[in-house]
Symmetry: none
């Protein structure tokens, strides 16, 4: 084992600075050497989302606010003491481990960034398993088993891709499957990415619209007020 490998490890797992050009070999190395030892503390009482799911996600919060009576008495129920566990030191130990999915994460699955660039046909090996991301039942099994591990590496669109997507968006913010497909081909992206992009883009547009509306209302109000004060 050479120091070279080690330094690659550093980049991959630790610094995560290695966003492009990680060879599959490196990954394999990481897996072999690293995985067995890496399961940290927390015996994974609760891995994942599946067995735990939303309610348990906030189990702690439930516990904390359980004392709360009524909709809104005063701040009586949420005392600092209870948070700090000063009143019942033992209570916290009763709680199961905090929900921290990344603690269970396998190193090989993390910190890989997909650079989606039309020029650089760099499809990282992540795309190989991208079949397992596809919307099959197996996928949901996997995700419920551990959504975090299954999370798709963040795609980094190139500026060219963005520009084109934006251009299309201006004309049609709800592209049908055919357009998305075609865009995908053109831009060397999965159609999935296109779809998500448009969803997020619509959300962004809506948000900004809402905000500007709010600002307008606010300004009108303050104008009213100032003009009244001037009288």
């Amino acid at each position: 084992m050479s120091s070279i490998n080690l330094s690659k490890l550093v980049q991959l797992d630790y610094l995560s600075a290695l966003r492009d050009s990680v060879s599959p070999e490196d990954n394999r190395l990481l897996l072999q050497v690293g995985t067995p030892h890496l399961d940290p503390e927390l015996p994974a009482v609760q891995g994942p989302h599946a067995e735990i799911a939303p309610e348990d996600l906030q189990m702690a919060s439930v516990t904390v606010s359980a004392h709360q009576n009524g909709p809104m008495p005063r701040q009586s129920a949420f005392t600092i003491d209870s948070i700090l566990g000063l009143d019942r030191p033992d209570q916290r130990t009763v709680l199961s481990a905090p929900y921290r999915p990344w603690t269970d994460m396998k190193p090989a699955c993390q910190n890989r960034r997909v650079v989606a660039d039309s020029d650089a046909s760099v499809d990282l090996r992540v795309n190989e398993d991208s079949k397992s991301y596809s919307k099959s039942p197996a996928d949901s099994y996997r995700r419920t088993l551990n959504w975090y591990i299954g999370r798709r590496p963040r795609t980094a669109f190139s500026s060219v891709q963005i520009k084109i997507l934006e251009s299309v968006f201006q004309v049609n913010s709800y592209p049908g499957i055919d357009i998305r497909e075609e865009l995908a081909k053109k831009l060397h992206l999965d159609e999935d990415r296109i779809q998500i992009w448009f969803q997020n883009r619509r959300a962004k547009l809506k948000r900004s619209h809402r905000e500007s509306q709010f600002l307008m209302v606010k300004n009108v109000l303050s104008d009213l007020q100032t003009s009244r004060e001037e009288r």
Copy 2:
């Protein structure tokens, strides 16, 4: 939609033509979703870093045309100009800026540093003039003449606030809206700040976790190496 075949959109030849010929109905649809035509994004999206420009364009065209020669000989009609609408630098005048209350120029209440201290029972919301206070005169210049208007002043949490936040984090790193709200009230912070704090806190935890993992791997490797050398 209209009689225009939208799938042609992708063939960027047609794009600019399309923009000229999109029927009012299509536009209406677009507008309803959000906007005064077109794109809030350019100015708003990012502050300082965006400002994309010349080199980017250049690079873009370079890469794309490289593609044309190479692996993908087809699609001769893929011009950046048409995509970017350089031939038509149109109405991009608008827009809705992101909602940044702290940016509002309300004479008496702007440009102050946010000091978040639960002890002092200071309400941080910049909106509330009476309760905010400025720290130093230098602060007021920073944002007025600065190069980056619109960024929220960095919040300085008090040690008490931190302590409580940390305590809650230990129990539940994913507080739901109710808890966040309650924390906000307790600590005299915006709920937003709480949420951001937890996000950053999770990121930090994850980072440190990654580091420890790395250290373990590293130790294992060096152990392997030394034991081999001993042979």
